[in-house]
C-alpha cells in the first residue's frame, strides 16, 4: 500500500478532559455523573490515490473499506468488502450499477462533529441515470475553481454512508491533492484523497 494513514482519538481526548473536570468537581458534588466514554473514533486518512495523473494511475477506482480502514484490492471490486471508491473526482458507493452491495449515501450540509445521528432515510444508491454523489462542480462533494483550475472539497459537506454491510458512517472529504497542500494550485499532484471519517460498528445510527 502506498499510502500512509493516521488515526487518533480526538473525541476521546475531549472526553478525558471532561472526565478530569468532572473528577475535579467531585469534591463539591456528591452526585457524580458516570463519565460515559463511548464516542466514536475519528479516523483521518491521507493520500488515497484515485487514479492519479502522476504516472501511478491504474485506470481503475480505488476501493475502500470503512470498517477495516484499508484499501480493498481491485480484484475484490465485485464483493461487499468495500464501501466507497474513488476515481478522479468521481465517488461511487457499493450499490446499484457500482457494486453488489446495498451501500447508500446522502450528503449532509453541516459540520462533521455536529452530526450526532445518521438520518433514518434520504439515502441514495448509484443507478444508471445518476450516481448517489452527483458529479460536477458544486453538485456533490467538490467545487471547481475555473480561475485557478483547483478542485476543493466543499467545506461543510458530510457524506453520511450506509455501508455495504448496513452499518452507518460519516465522512468529510478534506483534500484532492497529495499531502494536503495548504493552498493547492493546479501544479499540485491531484487525485489524492484525504478525508476524516467515523464508523459505527454496532449497527445503530449513533455517530457521536
Amino acid at each position: 500500500m502506498n499510502h500512509t494513514f493516521f488515526s487518533f482519538i480526538k473525541k476521546n481526548s475531549y472526553s478525558a478532559l471532561i472526565l478530569l473536570l468532572v473528577v475535579s468537581c467531585d469534591d463539591k458534588k456528591n452526585d457524580p455523573k458516570p463519565a460515559v466514554d463511548n464516542a466514536l473514533i475519528v479516523q483521518v486518512v491521507k493520500n488515497i490515490p484515485a487514479n492519479p495523473t502522476d504516472g501511478t494511475g491504474t485506470g481503475h477506482y480505488t476501493f475502500y473499506s470503512l470498517k477495516n480502514n484499508t484499501v480493498v484490492q481491485t480484484t475484490d471490486s465485485a464483493s461487499t468488502q468495500w464501501d466507497i471508491a474513488f476515481n478522479s473526482t468521481t465517488i461511487i458507493v457499493n450499490s446499484g450499477i457500482s457494486g453488489p452491495g446495498d451501500a447508500a449515501v446522502q450528503i449532509y450540509t453541516g459540520i462533521f462533529s455536529d452530526l450526532s445521528e445518521a438520518p433514518v432515510d434520504g439515502y441514495k444508491q448509484d443507478n444508471s441515470s445518476s450516481l448517489a454523489i452527483p458529479t460536477g462542480s458544486g453538485n456533490g462533494w467538490y467545487n471547481y475553481n475555473s480561475d485557478t483550475h483547483v478542485i476543493s472539497a466543499i467545506p461543510g459537506r458530510v457524506l453520511v454512508i450506509k455501508t455495504a454491510q448496513g452499518k452507518y458512517a460519516k465522512m468529510e472529504l478534506i483534500s484532492y491533492y497529495k499531502d494536503v497542500p495548504t493552498n493547492p494550485t493546479s501544479v499540485d499532484i491531484a487525485r489524492y484523497y484525504s478525508f476524516r471519517y467515523s464508523y459505527q460498528d454496532d449497527g445503530s445510527r449513533n455517530l457521536k
Binding site: 462542480s137 475553481n145 483550475h149 478534506i174
Partner: protein, 779 residues
C-alpha cells in the same frame, strides 16, 4: 467645470467682449462679438439657452436672431476650443435692450454643455443623472497618455485587467457593462468582453463625459453600468498646430516613446482637425524570473480627423474618422504533455471608423440629425516555435458594425422638449474562435420627453425599444428628475432599466486555449462541440446534462440613483449619489465537462442574481487663486443574492487550510463579488499660474482591498487570505510654459513604486517622464 475655466492655457489672457444690441422691432436679438483687442470673432456659435435658436457670428463678429418671442433668455456664446460664456438678455416687445458689455474675467458663470446623458445638449447643472466631465486640459496636466490612465483617477472607477485587456469597473459592474462611446458612437472590439482602453490615445480628447446608471433607454444593450463618451477636439478658428514628444522610463524595463501632433484649421464655413499619435512601448517585466515579459513590447499608431462644414446657419455636416493599429511581439514558454515549448508570439490589431453627422434645423423648434457609423475591429495572433520556426497557433477576430440613425429634437415650449430617434445596427463577426461567420441586426427606436415644472423641477422620461434578430423585443424605460431646491441645493433621482444582450462570444465561441488546454463554447455551440469531443475521445467526464441546457437570455438590471449637489459658494461644490443596481440573469461561465487532458469545457449560463449598492461623493474646492483641490470616495457592496440566501440557510462553510477544521459562515464573513473594492478614494491638488506659466499637480488614488479568488474551497470570498491588499498610487507632474510656444512637462507616476507582480500586472512601478510641446497658432 472650474478647472476648464481656469486652465485653458491658450486662451488665458484673451478677453471677450460681447456687445449685444436688441432691437425691439421684429423682436430681433443681435449683437457683435470681439476680443478685448476689439478684433471681431467670427464663427462663434451663439444660442439662446433652453431654446433651439442658434446662430453663428460672421466675419465682422456680427450675429442676429430674428423673430424671438419677448422674454428673458440666456445668450450662450460657445467657442469650440474654449468654455462657453453666458449672458442674460431680455427681448422686450417694441423696446431696445441696453447694450451690454461682457468681459470674460467678469463672468461668474461658465456653462458646460454635455450631450451624453440625454442625447441633447444640456447644461451639466440641469442633468438629472450622475454625470462627471473630465476636461481635456486636465488630462494634459495629468500627463496621461492612454485612456485607462485618465479613468483610473476618477471617483468610483477602478481599472481592472484580465489576461487580454484593461477595462473599467463602474458602480461595481465588470467592464463589459459600461458602454464606451467615441463622439457618441459605440466602440467595438470586445474579444473577451472587456474593451481595451489602452487603444485610446488621449492627446486629442476635448473632454470625457461619464454618465453613471443605466442608459439603455437611449443607447440600448451594454449601457448597464453607465456610459463613457470620449469627445474629441473640433477645428479651432484660424490655424493652429502642436507637436509633443514624450519619453518615459522606469524600472523593470519600462520605456515608452510617445509622439503626438495635431493640426487645426478653420476658415468661415469649413474646418478640419487632424490628429496623429505614435506610442512605442518596450513593455515591462514584473517577474524577471519567468521567461516571458509581463507586458511584451508593442507599437501603435492613431490617426483621427474631424471635418466640419456649415452649409448655412441651419445646416451643418461633421465627419469623424479614426484609424488605429498596433503590433506587439514577445517570447513565451510553457509545457504541454511534458514537452516544453518556446514560442515567439506576434500580434496585431487595427480598428477604423467613419462617422458622418448631418444636422439640420428645420425651424427654431425642430432639429433633425442624421448619422451614419461604420466601424471595424480586427486582431490576429501568430505563435511560432522558436526552435524550428514552425507554426504553433494562429488566430484572428474580425468584427464590423454599421448603423444608420436619425434623431429629431422638438422644442414645444421653453420648458418642454421631445427627442425621438430610430436606427438599425448591422453587426457581423468572424473568428478562428467561431465555427463560422455570424450576423445580427437590431432595429430600435427611442423616445424621450424632457419637461420643467415651476422652473425648479425637471423630469425626463424615456424608453427605448430594441427588436433584435435573435433576441426579439426588449423595452428599456427610464425616469429621472432634478429638483433645484434653491440656489445652492439640487436633488437628483433616477430609476431605469438596463440590459445587455448575450454577445457573439457568449453564443458562438468555439475556443480551445492552445497553452492552457481548456475549451470554451458559446451556448449555441456547446451541444455540438461536446459531442464532437466525445467522438474524438477527448472527454473524460460529463458534468451535467448538456442536452437540457437552455438558450441564454439577456442580462438586465433595474437601477436607482439618488443624490444631491450642494454649491454653498461658487468655489465649493459637494455632490453625493447613492446607487442601487439589481442585476438579474448574469451570464457566467461554468464547467460542463472535463477533458482527458484534465482541463475543463466551459459554456455560458444565466446564473446569478446580484446587486451592487453604495455611495459616491465628490468635493471640489477652489479656495485659493490658481489652486484647485478635489477629492472623491466610493463605498461599494456587490453581492450575489443566492450566496446570501444560502449563508442564511446555513449552507456555506469554510475550512481552515492549516487546521483543516470546518466552521459555518455568517453573512458578515461574506466579502461579496471578487475584484470589487469596498473603499476607493482619490484626492488631487492642481496648480496653474497663467502669468508665470508654471503648473503642477499631485494626485493620489487609493484602491481598498479586494478579493482575487477562492482559496478555501467554498468558491466565495470570505477568508482574509483571499484578498489583494489595498494600495495607494501617488502621481506628480510639473509643467512650465516658455516663450508662449513651448511647454516642458515632467513628472513621476507611482512615486512610491508600488507593484504587485502576482495580482496586478497593469501597474509597472515608478515611471519618470519628460515631455516637450511646441505649439503655433494664427487667427
Amino acid at each position: 467645470m472650474y478647472n476648464q475655466y481656469l486652465n485653458r492655457g491658450w486662451i488665458i489672457g484673451l478677453c471677450w467682449l460681447i456687445t449685444a444690441v436688441c432691437f425691439g422691432q421684429n423682436n430681433r436679438l443681435q449683437g457683435r462679438i470681439f476680443t478685448e483687442d476689439s478684433i471681431p470673432l467670427s464663427n462663434i456659435s451663439l444660442k439662446l439657452k433652453g431654446t433651439s435658436y442658434q446662430t453663428i457670428s460672421d466675419s465682422n463678429g456680427s450675429f442676429s436672431f430674428p423673430n424671438i418671442p419677448p422674454g428673458k433668455y440666456k445668450l450662450i456664446a460657445a467657442d469650440p476650443s474654449s468654455e462657453s460664456l453666458v449672458l442674460p438678455v431680455e427681448v422686450k416687445e417694441g423696446q431696445n435692450s441696453p447694450i451690454i458689455f461682457l468681459v470674460k474675467q467678469a463672468v461668474k458663470e461658465t456653462e458646460e454643455v454635455v450631450i451624453t446623458a440625454t442625447r441633447t445638449e444640456k447644461d451639466v447643472a440641469d442633468v438629472p443623472t450622475p454625470i462627471k466631465v473630465i476636461p481635456g486640459t486636465q488630462i494634459r496636466q495629468m500627463g496621461s497618455l492612454r485612456l485607462n490612465e485618465v479613468l483610473q483617477e476618477q471617483t468610483g472607477l477602478a481599472v481592472v485587467s484580465d489576461a487580454h485587456d484593461t477595462g473599467i469597473q463602474m458602480q461595481g459592474f465588470n467592464p463589459d457593462y459600461t458602454m464606451i462611446l467615441l463622439n457618441g458612437e459605440p466602440v467595438i472590439g470586445r474579444t473577451a468582453g472587456t474593451l481595451d482602453l489602452t487603444r485610446f490615445a488621449v492627446g486629442n480628447i476635448k473632454k470625457i463625459e461619464i454618465v453613471k446608471g443605466p442608459s439603455s433607454s437611449l443607447y440600448g444593450s451594454e449601457a448597464l453600468a453607465g456610459i463613457i463618451n470620449i469627445i474629441t477636439e473640433k477645428p479651432k478658428e484660424g490655424f493652429s498646430t502642436q507637436l509633443k514628444q514624450r519619453y518615459s522610463t522606469g524600472n523593470r524595463g519600462y520605456n515608452v516613446f510617445d509622439l503626438t501632433g495635431d493640426v487645426s484649421y478653420r476658415y468661415k464655413k469649413a474646418g478640419i482637425y487632424f490628429f496623429a499619435n505614435r506610442y512605442q512601448s518596450m513593455g515591462y517585466d514584473l517577474q524577471p524570473e519567468t521567461p516571458e515579459k509581463t507586458v511584451p513590447p508593442f507599437n501603435n499608431y492613431t490617426l483621427q480627423t474631424r471635418i466640419n462644414y456649415d452649409f448655412s446657419s441651419k445646416t451643418n455636416l461633421v465627419v469623424n474618422a479614426r484609424y488605429f493599429s498596433e503590433t506587439s511581439n514577445g517570447n513565451t514558454s510553457f509545457s504541454e504533455d511534458n514537452i516544453t515549448y518556446k514560442i515567439y508570439q506576434k500580434g496585431s490589431q487595427y480598428d477604423w471608423n467613419l462617422n458622418p453627422v448631418f444636422t439640420h434645423r428645420c425651424s427654431p423648434r425642430l432639429k433633425q440629425t442624421i448619422r451614419y457609423y461604420a466601424t471595424q475591429y480586427y486582431t490576429n495572433s501568430e505563435m511560432t516555435n522558436l526552435a524550428d520556426g514552425s507554426l504553433y497557433d494562429k488566430s484572428f477576430f474580425n468584427q464590423t458594425f454599421n448603423r444608420p440613425e436619425t434623431q429629431v429634437d422638438y422644442l414645444w415650449t421653453e420648458n418642454q422638449q421631445t427627442t425621438a430617434g430610430t436606427g438599425v445596427n448591422f453587426e457581423s463577426v468572424n473568428s478562428t474562435r467561431y465555427t463560422e461567420g455570424k450576423k445580427f441586426y437590431n432595429i430600435y427606436g427611442y423616445l424621450q420627453h424632457d419637461f420643467t415644472l415651476f422652473k425648479r423641477l425637471s423630469i425626463i422620461a424615456g424608453a427605448r425599444l430594441d427588436d433584435h434578430s435573435v433576441y426579439g423585443k426588449r423595452i428599456s424605460p427610464k425616469l429621472s428628475s432634478l429638483l433645484k431646491v434653491n440656489k445652492w441645493l439640487s436633488l437628483k433621482a433616477s430609476a431605469g432599466e438596463g440590459f445587455k444582450a448575450p454577445d457573439f462570444r457568449q453564443l458562438y465561441l468555439n475556443f480551445s486555449n492552445p497553452v492552457a488546454g481548456y475549451s470554451v463554447f458559446g451556448s449555441e455551440e456547446v451541444k455540438q462541440q461536446v459531442a464532437l469531443l466525445q467522438q474524438k475521445g477527448q472527454i473524460s467526464q460529463i458534468l451535467m446534462d448538456i442536452n437540457s441546457l437552455q438558450s441564454i437570455r439577456a442580462e438586465y438590471s433595474t437601477a436607482y440613483n439618488l443624490g444631491f449637489v450642494v454649491t454653498p459658494h461658487k468655489r465649493i461644490q459637494w455632490s453625493v449619489n447613492f446607487f442601487y443596481n439589481d442585476i438579474k440573469d448574469l451570464i457566467e461561465t461554468g464547467a460542463v465537462a472535463i477533458k482527458s487532458n484534465g482541463q475543463s469545457v466551459y459554456t455560458y449560463f444565466n446564473q446569478s442574481n446580484v446587486f451592487t449598492r453604495g455611495l459616491e461623493t465628490d468635493l471640489s474646492l477652489k479656495l485659493l487663486k490658481n489652486f484647485s483641490f478635489s477629492a472623491g470616495y466610493q463605498y461599494l457592496e456587490a453581492k450575489n443574492k443566492k450566496v446570501l440566501d444560502d449563508i442564511e440557510a446555513g449552507k456555506y462553510f469554510a475550512r481552515n487550510p492549516v487546521t483543516l477544521e470546518t466552521t459555518k459562515l455568517t453573512k458578515a464573513d461574506y466579502g461579496g463579488l471578487f475584484n470589487r473594492s469596498k473603499h476607493m478614494a482619490n484626492a488631487r491638488l492642481f496648480y496653474m499660474n497663467p502669468k508665470t506659466g508654471w503648473g503642477g499637480n499631485i494626485r493620489c488614488i487609493y484602491r481598498g482591498r479586494y478579493g482575487f479568488g477562492d482559496l478555501n474551497g467554498n468558491n466565495i470570498l470570505d477568508d482574509g487570505s483571499e484578498y489583494v491588499k489595498g494600495y495607494f498610487l501617488w502621481n506628480l507632474s510639473l509643467s512650465k510654459k516658455i516663450y508662449k510656444r513651448f511647454t516642458v512637462q515632467g513628472g513621476i507616476d507611482n512615486l512610491f513604486d508600488y507593484t504587485n507582480p502576482v495580482y496586478i500586472t497593469s501597474i509597472p512601478g515608478r515611471i519618470y517622464y519628460l515631455s516637450l510641446q511646441i505649439e503655433f497658432a494664427k487667427k
